[in-house]
Symmetry: C6
Subunit: 271 residues, 6 copies
């Protein structure tokens, strides 16, 4: 663990993307991201969980040669969790950058996932970084950190009725909407990610599409990620019907009616 305690030669070493992440584009999103990055405009990705936002960001980080620092936001996240703090450790006291200041200082892509979970005030620290000033006041360190020229800010969240970012935060971002990929893309992803045969993949996508038609909750919840997991279990040798039970039916809901409805669909497709 000594490597951790010394000032590392490359402070972003842990956050470099090691291998090219598989990403199947579903539109012009790659070019749009590049245009925004050319101007260093902060980006907001909107869409339900499991629809490929994180994978897309990983892909873009790899493509642009940027280290990727990811933060999963939550309502207990304080400004200090993003900005850093003074730590007392085995070598005495030292300033430790948080993920945001680390990325801004050394020039990484900083990706804040589920931004809407964060308390509005924790997001206020983004304001001077996300407008033309591109600075981050680190009050506890007595420092006004100017962002590295390569630094880029990307955030994402799943839009939900009744919850919104404050306008002053929101209007600092250029936004892109994501949703479940079209059926052929779903099949291709399943073949690549789960290792299913195309035909198996198509049947599974067929089940998902019917299930998503059940209700709105299903539409949001039965994500690409869940399909990939079901596919992996099948490819790993589990009986298809059982894999659906574990990865889709039980994973989807605890409510008896919803469980029944999805089970009926699964029974029909995997008799």
């Amino acid at each position: 663990m000594s490597a951790v305690l010394q000032a590392p030669a490359d402070p972003l070493a842990d956050w470099r993307v090691a291998a090219e992440p598989y990403y199947r584009p579903v539109g012009d999103e790659v070019a749009q991201f590049q245009d925004a990055y050319a101007l260093r405009l902060p980006l907001l990705l909107k869409g339900p969980p499991g629809c490929g936002k994180t994978r897309f960001v990983e892909h873009m980080a790899w493509t642009l040669g940027l280290p990727l620092v990811t933060v999963a936001c939550h309502e207990d996240m304080a400004a200090g969790d993003l900005l850093g703090r003074w730590l007392i450790d085995a070598d005495g006291t030292r300033w430790q950058d948080g993920p945001l200041s680390l990325a801004a200082r050394h020039g990484a892509l900083c990706y804040l996932d589920e931004l809407i979970e964060a308390r509005p005030d924790a997001l206020t620290v983004l304001h001077p970084l996300a407008d033309t000033r591109r600075v981050l006041p680190l009050e506890r360190n007595g420092e006004l950190l100017a962002a590295h020229p390569r630094f880029q800010l990307v955030v994402s969240y799943n839009p939900q009725p009744g919850r919104d970012l404050r306008p002053a935060t929101r209007q600092r971002f250029v936004a892109m909407a994501f949703e479940a990929p079209p059926v052929p893309a779903q099949v291709a992803i399943l073949v690549h990610e789960a290792g299913l045969e195309p035909e198996q993949a198509m049947r599974l996508v067929g089940l998902a599409e019917r299930a998503r038609a059940l209700d709105e909750g299903a539409q949001a919840a039965l994500s690409m990620r869940m399909l990939v997991r079901a596919g992996q279990l099948m490819a790993g040798g589990m009986q298809a019907r059982v894999a659906c039970e574990l990865a889709l039916v039980q994973a989807w809901s605890d409510q008896p009616e919803r469980v029944q409805a999805l089970r009926a669909l699964a029974d029909a497709l995997y008799p």
Copy 2:
């Protein structure tokens, strides 16, 4: 206590399962767990308290040769309780892994019990560990911990109307449903765990089945665990009727009507 203060040779020594735990399977759950483990897919066990989830996980840890690190979740649990912290102790300052980082670093089965009690934000730290990335950002330690290849994540909770995991958390798990074992299994468990004679065990299971028919609360509450306790008191020499009073009637409820109802059943079976 000096052993505690030195870096232990085997940091998981305390958490190895010492002897094979008795577990009576009630279906295909053992094979399903193994299939999910082969792919290292995180597992969610759903079911009421005392129905055997913890015992099942102990059994699987033993079977797979994995140390078992258990965490009972509660609403005051902060992310730091899972991830670890810098401690000041008799040897100076040192980083101490939390149960989750300990298990992820050294390759244990990490079992989070009663997941639904935890605040959603404490669960957000599970996200990067529970998807294809299998990493745990330890921000306070300035470290991005890649999970050990043998590391496996299992969680459980008792589904309750009106409480649910956030979809982004939930869809990262493959799920299995548990409930009270079938009657013959209950009898077998009582014989093994409490040391009752089969006939005694059957009478006790009979009482439980009738009691569970009383109302929904009883169904959830009169668990296998309570039966085992009643059985142990009987096997230890306490009069059966008194053992029921202590381990079932009084332990079940404080409400006079419910106490009366259960008492009537006990009176009938143990006159």
Copy 3:
């Protein structure tokens, strides 16, 4: 105070019960406690304040030769208050067991009074200690403490409508119900504890019985403890009517009507 700062030879010295506590049994509770202790099953005592639960536990600790570590639960009690913490004191930093870990480590009877006042999450730490595992994870100390073979857990609370333990906590205990002792026992206790003459004691118990018939609140509140206090004042030379005013009437309520009602009874008995 130096004795406090050194590791004491007998860490439970303070908590040994010095002399046999007077306890007048009111049923089979002594044998039932012993049966549960033989199996080390955790015990839950239910009943209103002042009805003898604490005295009973003191008695059993003396009888079983166990030191008694008592904790009065309250809603601000955190897990660390039960489990212990790292302290910085005059001798440097050292780990200090909390009452629960102290009792579990060295083999005492640990009595948690008014359990229902504690926040549910503080009680979650009891779970692995109160089932067949009998272990206490001390995360801050990096230790999985296995309970001493003689360790026993006893808890108590006063059942109140609308407040209950979580089922997962509750079903880990074998339960016994307590209430005010029968009249002859009350008299005997008053004679022994307050030093009253039997006739004086009977008159006081008579007042209490009539007062308890007033309403439910009185039934719960006019406890054995209050009678003992009234009796002590009388035995100490205070006029009986005045002793009732101080120890019963004013101590019972601030509401004018209730005060009047009880005063009328006292006036009748002690004219």
Copy 4:
């Protein structure tokens, strides 16, 4: 300030009552206090602010030769504020008793004012000290403090509809009710405390009695303390009518109607 940092020879020096406090008894309260003290029964004084409870306690402390440690309770008071804590100060770390442990350790009268303002859980620490055990568990100091034989606990509060102590706390005390002294006592107190002529004092008491008849709020609020202040201003040379305006009218209320009503009474008496 060095005296503060060294362990003082007499830890209660600051809290000894220097001179005999003037107290005019209004009934048998002095003898009743002495009877309760003979048995070391904890005392609860009930009554509105400013009616003489604190002065009575000071008087009794002087009479019994006990140092007096007073604590004004408030809703932010934590258990540690009563029990003490480890402090880091110029001489290193040291344990510092809180007012309650100080009084219990060295044998003082501990007076908790406005007990009802404290959070119920802070009061839970009083339980073992206020029953036959007379011990105070100082968990942070790893100590079970046995109370000094001379230690006495007295608490007070102003009963208010809808607020009450928990029964488990309340029934540990013997209670005495206080209210405004009778008119002759009021006059005597004014003469002694404010230095008024008896005739001046009678006129002021007359105003107060009429004002208290206005409404219930006035009855509680126009306390002996306020009369003493008005009397002091008069005795100091301020015009009587102006002294009433400052010490009674404006001090009593901000509501125009109430101010008018009291002013009318004052105008009538001091034309």
Copy 5:
């Protein structure tokens, strides 16, 4: 900054009033303050913001030759913010008095502004200081501080429906009511404070009087302080109408109707 870190020769040096503050009396308030100070009775000043309370206190501090320690109360103010704390600074640990203990120890006038904003419990620490005892228990310092003979306590707040001090706090103060000065005084203050010509001052006061007639909110809000600011801008060369827009209209409200109403009055007086 070294002067800060050494114990200063005169601990109240910063708080001495350097020059005689201009104050125009509006009644007998100066004599009344002096009478209360002669008896060291704590004073409560009631009135809307900006009506001259602070200036009056500054004036009295100068007149009486007392240093003035001012505290602006707020709902996050804890008892420690008034009483002091142990600090770790460059010279090691040391006790630092808070503003209240500083004033009480060395004999200053302590002025607590906007007392009603403070949490009731923070005010409880005032009780023993504000009655005949005149002591301040500094529990964290293990000290019972007796107030300096010259120490005086003054508090103020703006009475608001539905908010009140607790009676136990309130009845410890002698109270004086403040409101906007009469018109001639307003003119005189404007001439002195803003440097306006009397005629200019009278026109501005005329505007204010008409505006205060608009509604109750205006009455409270259009304070002497705002008039002084408008006057200063005019005297500094800004066009009168524009000065009113900035210092009165826009500063008064964000609501379009209120802004329009005040603007109409300003247009009429400064066409």
Copy 6:
């Protein structure tokens, strides 16, 4: 990072405005700011986000030769975040000014953005600094900081129904109202800031004006900042219609109807 840890020669070095910020005046705001600054009257800028308030302040700081210390207020901001604190860092303990004390001590323009987000109590610390006293009590440092003669305080917020500053805070400021610049100014800003051709800029402003007519939300949200971003994407080569989708449509709202309405306008203007 050593420069951070030493007391810097020029403590405001980071906060000097490096180059003249482009600002297009829309009225007399520059002269009004200068008049208020001549008297050092605190200024309050009211207006929606993105309408140019920050840029205006940057411009004035440059014009007046003042360093600019900016603070984005949020509801978790405590008084200590403005005033400073004692820090333990690699060089030992040292006092670190917060942004407000830094600016007040050394003579900068301090700009508090989104003041209304701050908790009222955090704003109480502004009171003595924002009236004629111009002092800042730094209680934790035991210091009464007199503001530097050049120090100026400016705050801003976006007025919203139902939220207001407390009168005692508000009446300490002279206020100016901001809104979206007039159309020609918008065009000029777009040409300068985004590098658009005037004709492109006019079309974009035309779209914005029509969109702002949609509803009130749009009026507030479609700010100058968003137009500049859309213009930058266009000038960077992105197709105009796509740039509107990302920088205006998706960035504006997640609600389908609003997205449709704005999209229809964009389709009409960029067919």
